[in-house]
Structures are given as structure tokens and as C-alpha cells.
């Protein structure tokens, strides 16, 4: 998705194609997570003999990993700002830090999933299990894809000039990253904080 409206073409909206494309895509993503969250909300109390949410959730742990993820939004903003100023080294630095924070979050999720599984909550254990792993798993995949995109950007920036305008691309991926963070705020609240 690097075809841009750069090169002297003005767009009708004033927003570049890549950014408008990302906004459009995120609109669609809202419905994807909407469907998954609805499924979870419907099924969160249906445990059929398996562990209940309150029995396995470790809220302090997840709060810390949520905080790490939210901080990555801050570093993402710093990366976008550096890219706009044309500061290549700083851009790369903040993109890397963002990816590392994201990776910490995903690492926390892997740890959490393992712990839950050992406490008896498998994917097939109950409706709660199936819908919990599906919802948080989809979010985790989104973060992972974001990390891959960030690291690819860093790699491409080091090797050569990025196709399209650099700051536009960083900003586009930033949009995605912030969206994934915001979705996590909703998931964290609905899944972990509100008691069943």
C-alpha cells in the first residue's frame, strides 16, 4: 500500500490515499472487533465446569502489560513527529522502541495464555474459553502484525529510501498502531475489569 498521491497530485479530500485507505480499513476493523467483543460478552459467564474469569485473571499483571502497550502509543507519536521533522535516526529509534514495547505486551499475553491453560482453561474447555482466546488472540495477532510492520519500516529505512513519502507511511502505520491500542483499552475494560 505504498501508492501515494505524492508527486504533485492533489487529492480531493487533502488527505493522502494511503492515510485515507488506512482510516477506511480501521472503520472496517471496528466491526470485526465489534463482532468478536459481542461474542465474548454473550459467552463470558458460560464456563461449564471450567474456571471462571475471576478465578484466573491476574489483574495487576495485565494492568502492567496494558500500561506497556499504552506507552507504545506515546513512542509511536514521537516516531511520527521525528519522521515529519525528517530526523531519520530518531524515527528509527522510536519505531524500534514502539516495536519492543509491543513485543513486551505480546510476550505478556503468551505468558498469560500459558498460565491460564495450566490452570485449566483450554480453547475447548468452555464457551468462555473459546471466546476469550479468540478475542484476545485476534488482538494479539493485530499487535504482532503491527510489530512486523514497524520492524520492516526500520529495516527498509536503513537499506534504502522507502517507496512513497516516508512520514506518510510512518503516520499510516501509526494510525493502525493507535487503533490497536484503543481496542485494547475496550477489551481490557470489558474482559478484565467488569466482573461477570
Amino acid at each position: 500500500m505504498t501508492d501515494t498521491t505524492a508527486h504533485g497530485h492533489t487529492s480531493s479530500t487533502g488527505i493522502s490515499n494511503v492515510k485515507l485507505g488506512m482510516w477506511t480499513f480501521l472503520g472496517s476493523e471496528c466491526l470485526l472487533f465489534g463482532g468478536l467483543i459481542s461474542t465474548y460478552m454473550l459467552y463470558r459467564g458460560r464456563v461449564t465446569g471450567g474456571p471462571r474469569p475471576s478465578q484466573i485473571f491476574d489483574i495487576p499483571f495485565t494492568s502492567v502489560s496494558s500500561f506497556v502497550l499504552l506507552m507504545s502509543s506515546l513512542t509511536m507519536v514521537l516516531a511520527v513527529s521525528a519522521a515529519h521533522k525528517g530526523e531519520d535516526r530518531k524515527t528509527n529509534l522510536w519505531l524500534t522502541v514502539t516495536a519492543l514495547l509491543g513485543a513486551t505486551f505480546v510476550g505478556g499475553q503468551v505468558y498469560e495464555f500459558t498460565a491460564f491453560y495450566n490452570e485449566g482453561l483450554g480453547f475447548s474447555t468452555s464457551l468462555f474459553g473459546s471466546s476469550f482466546y479468540t478475542l484476545t488472540g485476534f488482538h494479539g495477532v493485530h499487535v504482532t502484525v503491527g510489530i512486523i510492520m514497524l520492524m520492516s519500516l526500520v529495516g527498509i529505512f536503513k537499506r534504502s529510501e522507502v517507496p512513497g513519502k516516508k512520514a506518510e507511511v510512518v503516520e499510516m502505520i501509526g494510525l493502525y498502531w493507535h487503533f490497536v491500542d484503543i481496542v485494547w483499552i475496550i477489551i481490557f475494560t470489558l474482559v478484565y475489569l467488569i466482573p461477570v
Binding site: M1, T2, D3, T4, T5, A6, H7, G8, H9, S11, S12, T13, I15, N17, L20, G21, T24, F25, G27, S28, E29, L31, L32, G34, G35, L36, T39, L42, Y43, R46, T48, F123, S124, S126, L127, G129, S130, S131, T134, S152, I156, S160, P163, G164
Partner: protein, 662 residues
Amino acid sequence: MAIIEREIEVMAPMVATPTSTYGVLKRPVAATGWRAWVFTVDHKKLGLMYGVTAMFFFIVGGVEALLIRLQLAAPNGKVLNADLYNQMFTMHATTMVFLFVMPMAAGFANYFIPLQIGARDVAFPRMNALGFWMFLFGGIFINLSWFIGGAADGGWFMYAPNSGPVFSPTHGIDFWAFGLQITGIASLTGAINLIVTVLNMRAPGMTLMKMPIFTWMMTVVQFLLLFAVPVITVALFLLSFQRNFGARFFDVAAGADPLLWQHLFWIFGHPEVYILVLPSFGIVSEVLPVFSRKPLFGYPFVVFSGAAIGFVGWGVWAHHMFASGLGPVSVAVFSLTTMAIAVPTGVKIINWILTMWGGKLVFSTAMKFSIGLIVLFTVGGLSGVTHSVAPSDTQQTDTYYIVAHFHYVLFGGGVLGIFSGLYYWWPKMFGKMLNERLGNWNFWLMVIGMNLTFGPMHILGLQGQPRRMYQFTEARSGEGLFNFAFWNLVASIGSFVLTIGILLFLINVVITARNPTKSPLDPWNSRSLEWMTSNPPKEHNFDVIPTVHHLDEFFHRKYEEDPATHTMRQIATAEEIMAEQERNADAHIHMPSPSYWPIVLAFGLPVITFGMIFSHLIAVFGAVIVFFAAFGWALEPSTAPASDFETNNSAPSTALDTVGKS
């Protein structure tokens, strides 16, 4: 938009393509022969590829329909057994909805939206190619199941838990769910692409309210796709996880709610029916004014009623579930919204009729199909309103009355509109006009055939013939005019009349292709921008990007109002406008290069899903393909560095001349 214009003094427009690459493979340049199609990113070629593929699936779905009608032609049909019959009606609907009407509309949108808004391509040309290949591979993937253990057999809405592994142990539904997932991504990329194209790439002066009506309706459709597709994506994931990875979403023993699937499916499924029919509304709204020699009556009303259908279409899904025990409040609410959505649809029909009112009607084949749509869609719309009355619907649910209703709206609405568009735009796409006499036969046989086929189903349904019943016995047949066997036979005969009508279209295509006569530049005296270029259009669409001053810009360049008599008089012919454009052609136009990666990336997806069903090792292999292709894609220059545009000016020509090969 990967198009660069530079100020170079060359008289003729030239098309240059970049050669250098950051990618793993060299980016193909100016491909010829089959490569020109397989690696193309040109919206017009992709539009045609969508159309041809959709037509192929139309024939596949048609054969499935004929087998169904053969089975039901007489009591105790023996053509298909019950199992095969289930697969047949499931795949007939799936093919017609997802592999014919949707891609056909995508084809029209691809081909004509950039032309109608005065753009040279879509916003993301490679993503456009990716969409087509995902659709094709997804369609093939779904149909592979016929040869590997049997196709999906749960009906096109695949209600869970009935579609779970217990009731459908073959891999048919796995293929169906994963295949639709792939075509769903195709729809999503298409929607993003076209929305950005329409919002960002309109010709100077073309405000939203000066946009051709077909583009408007297709834009509404893209928004519907954008928000509807992710919902079925979720539903399909849940189903696949249940069938393949032991999730329990639809396991009633674990306390699952059987309505979950129904809600998710119909929240997608109801917008989907507007996704199927709004493109045809757009086509008809283009065709009627041209052949009535009048502007579209109440253009803003047609636009806003289309948008209103798009909005209200989200609030009516549960009318598909009246018999499921939702409770009186839900049923009442959804009854009312369903009645409400008939209003904007009625607005459109009134607008079309008033467009024709007092016009100088030209009964071309395209016009006949459009008028056919108005009449037959209205019949289907009225039976639709009867469904909004919940008590009546409870009687009709799962009977042939429903089958009659949705075939009137989808065949009488969707398909007739598509044929109208094919006859109208054929000269634009191929530079030749379809034979009008054959077209006349094609139209009448299709209309008579469709009424013979689907008309009797109203009677059969009200008599109580259940939908999806694979046999009926002589003992259950009614008396006289209400005789099951008689009306089923009529419907079966009708389906063959319909088939002959469609065969005539295919014959017409062959005859037209062999006929050397070229079409005039502006055969129908049309109104919108796509006619302001050659037939078929050049690779870069327009020699000069038009500046738009009017709705129906092309018409207003041909005609102006005589202030004395208040009549329109011609001030220019299409040929003169075209010649003017060629004189002022943009000096240098750069089009995006072809690319290997869309087809490679798209191919990786069915490999992944195949592996999900049979062996995870294959899935890993597919993932590697996708990963590799995604990086090839990202690293490939979509616009080339300056050195690539060193042109070979020795052979300037008005033909498509590819330069910069060396």
C-alpha cells in the same frame, strides 16, 4: 496514485513504465501476451477479468439451478439424491451471490468508476489486482470441495449448529467457510480501494453532487461492504474454529446460543442484499436518462435514497429471524424498520418512472432490461413488504414464497440490471455493439423465463411447499390450480426458457466479436464522463483530465440551451470533443507498472486455508508465500525513480506506446 506527470515537450501522450526495482524479482515492464493480463494492475483489464470470471461462475451456478429444477420437475424426482440436492442448492446460492453478482458488480465498478470520475486508475492499483486474484482463487477453492468429499450442504446462510461437524461431517463447509473468507478479503480490499478512489481522485470540479449516479450507488455499496464483510468474517472464523480447532461457539451442550450465528450472519446478510441490488440500481439510473433523452429525475433524491437504503439496511436484519422466537418487541421493531426501508426504494422507482415520463424513449436492449428491472423488482419489492408483516411472514418462512421473493429482487433486480449494463457499456468496453435483434430475443426470453420460473413459486409457497424440499410425492400434490406437480413443472420449463435467453447472450457475444463493424464513439448519445474517451478507452483513460462544471458533464459539452427557445441544441459532437482532447493531450503520462506480487500473495491464501483443513505443514508453506509476497510488494517501487523515465522519443504516436524499455 502512482501516476506522474512531467512537463516534457512531446505532442503525443506516451506511457512510460518504470524498470528498476527494490524487489526480490524485477518488476515486470510492459508485459505482453498472457502476462499483460496475469500481472496487470490496470483497472479496465481487471474489470474485464472480474466480468469474465463472474460470467463463468454464472454458468456454473446456472447449471446447479437447472439440476435443482430437473429434480423438482415431477413428483419423486430421481435426478439428485437428498445429500447431493442439499449441496446443489447451497452451492447454487453461494455461487450466484458471492461468485457472480458481487464480482460482476465489482467488475463494473472497477471498469467504470475511474472513467466516470475522470481518473486514470484507482487509488491502489496493485491492491485492485490482489482483490481480483483473491476472488478467483477463493471461488475455485470453494468449488474444489465438489471433488474432495462433497460440497457445503447447509444452505447459503449455513445456520449453526446445523453446520457443525456433527450434522455435516464432510469438509464441504470447511471449504465454504475458508473460501468465503478469502473472497471476503477481496471485497474488503476492493471497498477500501474504491472508497479512496471516489473520495480522493475525482476530476477537478467534480463535487460529490456532480458525480455520476452509478458511481454514487457503487460508493454506497463499498461502504456497505466495508462494514458488512468484517461481521461475516467473525462468523466464519467462529464456525471454522468450531469445526477445525475444537472451539465450542455453537455447541448447545456447552450452553451456546443458537441465535448467535443467525444474528452475525444476517447483520452481514441484510446489507448484503443491498450490496447485490444497488449496483443494478446505479446502472439503471444511468441507462434510463440516456434512453429517455432526459436528465435523471430528482438526482439528489436518487442519491440520498441510495444512501438511506445503505443506512436503514443495517436495521432490518432480524426480519430474517421472525420465526426464531425473538420476542414481540424485537419482532415489532424489525417489522417497522422493514416497512420503512421500502420508502427509499419506492422513491427510486418513482424517480425512474418520472425520468421516462414525457421523454423520447428509445427502446434499445439496455433500456428494455432497465424497464424490466423496474417492473420485476417492484413485484419482488411488494412481496418483500408482505414479509415485513410478521404474522404473515411466520406462515411464509422457509416456503417457496420466500424463494419467489428473493429471485424477483435478485434476478429481476440484480441480474436484469447487470444485463442492462452489459448492453449499454459493451461498445465502451470492446468498441463494438452487441446485436440488438438478438438482444431483443435475449431480453424477452429471459423475462418470460424468469416469470415462468419464479412466478409459480408464489403459489407453491403459499400452498406450503417448503423451501429445500428435495422431493414431493404425488400424494401431497393439491387439486386443480393448486397442484404442486403442475406448478413445479411450469417452473422447471421456465428455467429452461431462461437458460435459452442467457445462451442467446453468449451467442450474441460471439457474433459481435466476429463482426468487424466498429461502434461509433458515442453510440447512445450518453451523458457521463466515461464516454468522453475512445472505445475501448486508452490505457491512461483520458488524454487530458477533464475539468467538470456540470452533472452530466459530457452531455453539457455536447449540448447547450438555446436561450430563446429553451431547447437544447447541439454544439459539439463526441468526435469533436475527442479530437480536442487529443490536441491538448497531457505531455507525459506515467501509469503504474504491472506487478508479480498480487497473484503470488493471493495464491498463498488458499494454500493456507487448504493446510488448515488437511495439514498444518501446508498452511505454514502458504504463510511463507504470503510473507514473501508481502515483502516483495512493500519493497517494490510503485513509482519509479527519475532515471526510469528516460524516454525514447523517436516514435511518438497516439497509440499506446510503451517507452523506457531499455
